[in-house]
């Protein structure tokens, strides 16, 4: 890579101690007297680096430790052990120089003044981040233009739809031109058009300002569209860190072979699992190591108009990864 590391994480660990009890009244009363605690290892000794200007997707099922990691990187949580550095700062110290250069966007929470037009909240952010008027106004108007929210910023936030609110939120969180963006589920609950809009905006912002982006999302489409590199986290540990494209090769146990037959009547059950059949087109699923052999046999033994081999869709691969026991 050769680029300067903006985010450096070394054996970062976060353990929560949570009270635990059985359901029911009896257990509740017992818990009043003697509380049982359990340690939850939200994040366990994870290490990775993110270079300047990189857009990295953080993948994992609910409770995998994505948000906990993001919160440690943005200075909200103190790590139990290990080390994190963002832009050379230790996040948990919450130094102003650090906070002025990052932003955190959480898709399920809002920070704008509920009863006021977003423009008023933007002014508050201008004061908090000490942005000069001459820097503030052009950037604000540029962001408003990019996300096409010119009409929305003048309406009270409570009157906006979820998607509109999210766009306005994003404008608010980028007014100080942060160099590092932590985006936690920025498109959650939004319709497809709105998701696309936000995606292309993030890509645009990354290009224009060379900002580093760490993104978590449930929607694979977000990750596929934005991130060349993904970090897959499960049960608080990193399972994979590398090119999104290679994730399939690494984890998928099978490939799919799509065959266009000249004679659609023949059965191909003998070659592999038939997952789709439509007229003369048949899609087979075969174990990865047998792909070459099955392809060879098909070409020799059947009359074939066309044949293509695919990696399985990334959603399926992810599902497969998380289905594996710890």
């Amino acid at each position: 890579m050769g680029r300067m590391a903006v985010v450096e994480v070394a054996e970062l660990t976060k353990t929560f101690v949570v009270p635990e009890r059985e359901a029911g009244l009896r257990a509740s009363i017992k818990a009043l007297v003697r509380r049982k605690h359990r340690e939850v290892h939200a994040v366990e000794e994870i290490s990775f680096e993110i270079g300047e200007g990189e857009v990295v997707g953080f993948l994992g099922p609910n409770g995998a430790g994505k948000t906990t990691t993001l919160k440690m990187l943005s200075g909200l949580l103190y790590p139990t052990s290990g080390e994190a550095r963002v832009l050379g700062h230790v996040p948990s110290k919450r130094e102003r120089d650090f906070l002025r250069r990052i932003t955190l966007v959480m898709g399920n929470r809002n920070q704008l003044q509920w009863d006021l037009p977003a423009l008023d909240s933007f002014e508050l952010n201008r004061a908090i981040y000490r942005i000069r008027r001459s820097d503030f106004t052009p950037l604000r108007d540029e962001l408003i233009g990019l996300l096409d929210v010119g009409d929305l910023v003048r309406k009270p936030v409570r009157n906006l739809s979820l998607g509109e609110r999210m766009k306005v939120e994003i404008v608010g969180s980028l007014l100080h031109r942060p160099q590092v963006l932590f985006l936690d589920e920025p498109t959650i609950g939004l319709d497809v058009t709105m998701q696309k809009r936000i995606r292309s905006f993030v890509a645009d912002y990354n290009r224009r300002y060379g900002a580093t982006v760490l993104l978590t999302s449930h929607y694979m489409a977000d990750v596929v569209a934005l991130c060349r590199r993904v970090v897959v986290i499960h049960h608080g540990r990193i399972l994979y860190d590398g090119d999104l494209a290679r994730l399939g090769a690494e984890f998928a146990a099978y490939k799919t072979i799509a065959v266009d037959l000249l004679d659609g009547a023949v059965s191909l059950e003998a070659y592999g699992e038939v997952v789709e059949r439509e007229g003369d087109r048949v899609v087979l699923r075969v174990p990865k190591e047998e792909t070459a052999r099955v392809t060879g046999r098909l070409l020799v033994e059947q009359k074939i108009a066309d044949l293509t081999v695919h990696d399985p869709p990334i959603e399926d691969v992810i599902e497969l990864v998380f289905a594996e026991p710890k």
Binding site: L77, L99, R109, Q113, E185
Partner: protein, 261 residues
């Protein structure tokens, strides 16, 4: 200086927010009148039986009542709503946003809300103070006025500290709302000078919940009975309490884990 600017902007936004709910003004005015009315009725009742209470005349006690109402209005306008919001934010995890801002977190959580209509109490309290002082024989000198201002500010700071200490507790104990009602109850003791209470209660409302410092001490200043020692004690206690509160707040922040997404 820039911190003051941030506080000022939040105040403005708070006012803008409140202006949208103009009905609140009428409701608040009505509440304020009831509060003043009952206070006056009780005072009249007490002084129909006696000429002075523990050395305080009726006019002087009117001043005490005025200060209590005035400060109560200020607390409900500026302190209480912020602390209630803080409790909510801790429970719902929205405090995250305040903590990722490059501004002192304590300042931010203390200035985000402002209930301007509560200031009706500030006005009615001030009127009571003025009327009360009109009935006092000795006139109020400039030194008394300065001492009053200092004592009242210190008292306000102490009440704020008390609130923030309790609210910081929500980092560990999630439900703190009942504290709100508890405070309202205890605050009513401020209508009478602390001298009238038994010793244990006097200590409670002086050092545990610093109402004596906030109401009685300023009233003593206005009625020329404040000695320098009490004011110095108020200053020392206020400073110590503020320092402790700040430490406790930071300690609490370290334990904040945020509501999970």
């Amino acid at each position: 200086m820039s911190a003051a600017r941030v506080a000022w902007l939040f105040l403005k936004v708070g006012v803008l927010n409140e202006l949208q709910y103009r009905v609140n003004f009428v409701v608040q005015l009505f509440q304020s009148l009831i509060q003043v009315g009952t206070g006056l009725a009780v005072l009249a009742l007490v002084y129909s039986h006696t000429d002075e209470l523990n050395g305080w005349s009726e006019s002087e006690l009117l001043t005490v009542l005025g200060i209590q109402i005035l400060l109560g209005g200020a607390i409900r306008a500026a302190v209480q709503p912020n602390m209630v919001q803080l409790m909510e934010d801790v429970r719902e995890g929205t405090l995250d946003y305040a903590l990722t801002k490059p501004e002192d977190a304590q300042l931010l959580v203390s200035v985000r809300q402002f209930r301007i209509w509560q200031l009706t109490d500030l006005v009615s309290g001030a009127i009571l103070v003025a009327v009360g002082l009109g009935g006092v024989e000795r006139s109020v000198g400039p030194l008394d006025a300065i001492a009053f201002g200092a004592a009242l500010s210190l008292g306000g700071v102490m009440i704020y500290c008390f609130w923030l200490l309790i609210t910081t507790g929500s980092f560990w104990i999630v439900r703190m709302e009942h504290v709100l009602e508890l405070f309202e109850g205890v605050y009513q003791t401020g209508r009478w000078p602390v001298g009238v209470y038994p010793l244990w209660l006097r200590y409670t409302v002086t050092f545990l919940v610093p109402i004596a410092f906030a109401v009685t001490v300023p009233a003593e200043a206005m009625t020329s009975r404040l000695d320098a020692g009490t004011l110095a004690l108020s200053f020392a206690f206020g400073t110590a309490l503020f320092a402790f509160t700040r430490w406790f707040w930071r300690f609490g922040l370290r334990h904040y884990s945020g509501a999970s997404a």
